[in-house]
Symmetry: C2
Subunit: 142 residues, 2 copies
DNA sequence: ACATCATGTAATGCCTAAAGTTACACGACC
DNA sequence: GGTCGTGTAACTTTAGGCATTACATGATGT
């Protein structure tokens, strides 16, 4: 399977929205991402429901970020996507009768749980403002 | 995408093979996994090439483990699958011109790299014998 | 009013990789 | 030589992200 790129796309979009007061249309965002306006609306829906962005219709409408970049963590964005699976691997049978398979499952589950906790912990400390700061550094190097 | 269950399946199979001297046929393994003999041969190919198992043809043939369970780590098994992607998420554009996207990519990549190192490190310390020991504990509880 | 612009959403098809299936070649043992 | 097993290639199925089309809804401008 291909990889899920929604998280990085949302972060990308949010940071651009934070750089301007004017609302951005789904089409503008789609052009930015090399994607499609409908896809944009789909992945933005969770952010809207979470109150991180607002969408206005009609002339001059579009998407606007409603919080400061220091108020939004990567975890917030991840959750607004519905907390999709982080890992590409797992076990097939969730409740096996075979004892061996049970142990294997537990071993795998432990590794996944530990890694998941670590990543989500990291996501919870990562704020959009930090990525913003890194962008500024990157601009100075140019 | 659905999840990749090959790693847990291989571990399951290897532990069963370690419990008997008689070779196991692909069909027997497939029945055990609720899968297909051809699929079994496919996922076992890497283990065979890595020298962890041997396959014999004809009457009385089948698969046999060629190493002790304390000599095989989960990392060995993972590698014999060709080290498939561990994570279900990533970024779409590997070399974006947009500075914001570059920073987002780096942020995501850092998280993935850190977590990957941690998991592979964990895999390298996990030996089949340890899972075996846990199976024995599980049997006593029954 | 009404045309235009924008979001909201359903429905459909595309793409990719694991998994399942079919078919057949090769080799070993009875 | 028949049977049992692995080794592979080729095709189908499946699931989810992604792209596209179509249409409804609402807000703005003339």
């Amino acid at each position: 399977m291909r990889q899920d790129t929604r998280l990085s796309r949302l972060l990308h979009v949010l940071l651009h929205m934070a750089q301007t007061d004017a609302p951005m249309t789904s089409q503008q965002i789609a052009d930015m991402l090399g994607s499609n306006a409908v896809v944009v609306r789909r992945i933005m829906a969770g952010l809207r429901d979470g109150g991180y962005v607002e969408a206005e219709r009609g002339h001059g409408g579009g998407w606007r970020i409603t919080r400061g970049t220091e108020e939004i963590t990567v975890l917030d964005v991840y959750r607004s996507l519905g907390s999709p699976d982080l890992f590409a691997f797992g076990f097939s049978n969730p409740r096996p009768s075979c004892l061996v398979e049970q142990s294997v499952n537990e071993t795998i589950a432990e590794s996944i749980d530990t890694a998941t906790s670590a990543i989500l912990e990291k996501f919870s400390t990562l704020r959009l403002s930090q990525i913003e700061a890194e962008v500024r550094e990157r601009m100075q190097k140019t």
